[in-house]
């Protein structure tokens, strides 16, 4: 954040996102130009249905883009094969893992899959990376527990550890704070902030926790129907970008307290 000339991890040029169904294009958002730098924590905020998930799905190559260009570490997303992409970008999704009978260690170790041999054996190097990911997320005490024994907050930390073990420059999380109580929401976002400082990885997450994101993120991506603006929280507040986030007849943004409140 302090140095804007830092290495660019993810960049989009005139990106248009949306759906193509039988030659009919539904454009969700267009002319998206964003740059994410190394070691930044970036929050993506916007109203329900505005297209946050579509944007994240496009950036992660789950869904094809309509127009424009996305590049990770200066390499176009189109030229990545599955394995190389998995070594550059890791995900934490909203969906539950299919099998909750895995131990926490087993689950985190699955993050090493893009690097392991045909049968998935862990080398000494893999083990040390897995253990490091476990200690960075402070889940050592859960290591041998099974996933069905964990609370939602613990499980989210485990999923973050798994993404860390994948050892990518960029980690993208889709609404990592849903289902969590107020304490754990703050805890997870604070953890993400700490991880960007400790590991110098770039972390992008979508969230409805705008208040917390303003306090913790280096940059915020504010997504509205007309555009996507990326800037520091302070600049967003100065320029009043949060005001266009929701219809103002019900909730308004208070620049003084840096939070939303109900328009009574």
């Amino acid at each position: 954040m302090s140095n804007n000339n830092q290495h660019i991890v993810l960049k989009t040029q005139d990106l248009a996102i949306g759906y193509k169904h039988k030659k009919v294009e539904t454009v969700v958002s267009k002319n998206i130009n964003i740059e994410l730098h190394k070691g930044e924590l970036i929050g993506l905020v916007g109203a329900n249905g505005i297209g946050k998930s579509t944007l994240l799905r496009t950036l992660t190559k789950v869904q094809p883009m309509l127009l424009g260009e996305v590049s990770i570490n200066n390499i176009s997303l189109d030229t990545f094969n599955n394995i190389d992409l998995a070594k550059s970008l890791s995900l934490v999704l909203t969906e539950q893992v299919a099998s909750k009978n895995m131990s926490v260690f087993e689950l985190v170790a699955l993050g090493r899959q893009p690097y392991t041999n045909w049968v998935g054996s862990l080398t000494a190097n893999d083990l040390s990376i897995v253990n490091k990911a476990i200690s960075q997320t402070t889940i050592e005490s859960l290591k041998h527990k099974r996933c069905f024994e964990l609370s939602d907050g613990q499980l989210q930390k485990v999923m973050i550890a798994r993404a860390l073990a994948q050892d990518t420059d960029l980690i993208i999380l889709d609404e990592p704070t849903t289902h969590l109580d107020m304490y754990h929401k703050a805890y997870i976002l604070k953890l993400l902030q700490k991880l960007t400082r400790d590991t110098n990885k770039t972390i992008l997450f979508s969230s409805h926790e705008i208040d917390l994101s303003i306090q913790l993120c280096d940059k915020l991506m504010v997504m509205t129907e007309s555009n996507v603006i990326i800037d520091t929280p302070e600049n967003h507040i100065k320029q009043g970008n949060f005001k266009s986030l929701f219809p103002e007849d019900l909730i308004i943004f208070d620049s003084e307290t840096k939070s939303f409140r109900v328009n009574k």
């Binding site: 599955n82 394995i83 190389d84 890791s90 995900l91 999704l93 893992v97 131990s103 087993e106 049968v119």
Partner: protein, 341 residues
């Protein structure tokens, strides 16, 4: 943790050997263990016919039991992981239904082809070929569909639908067939381990081995699939290719087993669950060999019981696998109170 698995494998291996010898020692003719052993190593036995019984009948039967038990167990494991469903078994893809349709067409449809042909058609090989063809065609249909469908659950439902269609065709055939034909069909449905000669066993073994090899190459993708398909994709897994290989392995295993031994119920569903109760892991690198050993052991035990040792009767193996296995699974689940997967 790793060391304890080693002991478990060692113990299972010893149990497997024990069950193997127990299986070939027991039968309608009682043969002393010394003579069983002698005939195995080619030494002379007290009564000459014993050597024939052991080498020509009991030994291939024991090997068949091992292949059937381990093969069905492994294909059940593959299906449970692929479909993320503890109720999936090797036959969810409609493989048995395909095989039974093939067999039903041969046995009950033979009269349609004309009386002279009928006698020719109903030989053992023709049943094997019909069953293989039937399961292969259903498999082909499922594979074509799975290439087009993005949702794995849709494949599961399509497999079930194929099952319903073939069951309906079999019902129609049964309605028009004679009592003898029906009986023959029902007997095939009982399953049988003891009908294979060595040359048939060899063909069985070759196809089985291909299925096992493909399963082994799928270990890594199976582990990745434990996270769910989207996570698996984000870890660089080629979802379509892995899915295809897993379905192919299952079809080869379950298809050839059904062709040679009939539709053996229950084993494929239950063995992976029983194994998970003992090996507390979801890592397929451990589970796959464990299921192999466990399946072989249970099948050998079931077969030993089905022989009703020292009596002249043999019970249908299909009934025994369910009679023994179903209560065991119920007991395990009641005791552990959860269906782990």
């Amino acid at each position: 943790m790793k060391a304890s698995y080693k002991y478990s494998f060692l113990i299972l291996g010893i149990i497997l050997l024990f069950c193997f010898f127990m299986n070939i020692s027991l039968g309608s003719v009682s043969i002393p263990f010394k003579d069983v052993f002698n005939s195995l190593i080619g030494a002379s036995t007290e009564v000459e016919s014993w050597e024939h019984i052991v080498q020509g009948y009991r030994l291939p039967k024991a090997f068949t039991a091992i292949l059937v038990g381990s093969g069905l167990g492994i294909s059940g494991l593959l299906m449970q992981t692929l479909f993320r469903n503890p109720l999936a078994g090797p036959f969810v893809l409609g493989i048995t239904s395909g095989a039974s349709l093939g067999v039903a067409l041969i046995i009950m449809g033979a009269s349609i082809f004309g009386g002279t042909l009928a006698g020719l058609l109903i030989s053992k090989w023709s049943l094997v070929i019909a069953a293989s063809l039937g399961s292969f065609l259903v498999l082909l249909a499922v594979l074509i569909v799975s290439m087009r469908v993005r949702d794995t659950m849709a494949i599961l439902i399509i497999g079930l639908m194929f099952g319903s269609i073939t069951a309906a065709v079999v019902s129609v055939l049964s309605y028009f067939s004679s009592a003898e034909q029906l009986q023959q069909y029902i007997f095939w449905g009982f399953g049988s381990l003891g009908n294979l000669a060595w040359n048939e066993l060899l063909v069985f073994f070759i196809i089985y081995s291909i299925g096992i090899l493909i399963s082994m190459t799928s270990i890594k993708s199976l582990n990745t699939l434990l996270l769910g398909e989207n996570y698996a994709k984000s870890l660089g897994l080629n979802l379509k290719k892995s899915r295809l290989l897993i379905i192919l392995a299952t079809s080869l295993l379950a298809g050839t087993i059904t062709a040679f031994a009939g539709p053996i119920a229950f084993i494929g569903l239950a063995i992976p669950h029983m194994t998970r109760q003992i090996f507390n892991t979801s890592n397929h690198k451990i589970l796959l060999p464990a299921v192999f050993l466990f399946g072989a052991i249970i099948m050998l035990i079931c077969d030993s019981i089905a022989q009703l040792p020292t009596s002249d009767y043999t019970l249908p193996i299909n009934a025994i696998t369910s009679l023994i296995g179903a209560p065991v699974v119920i007991w395990l689940l009641v005791r552990k109170r959860k269906m782990i997967f």
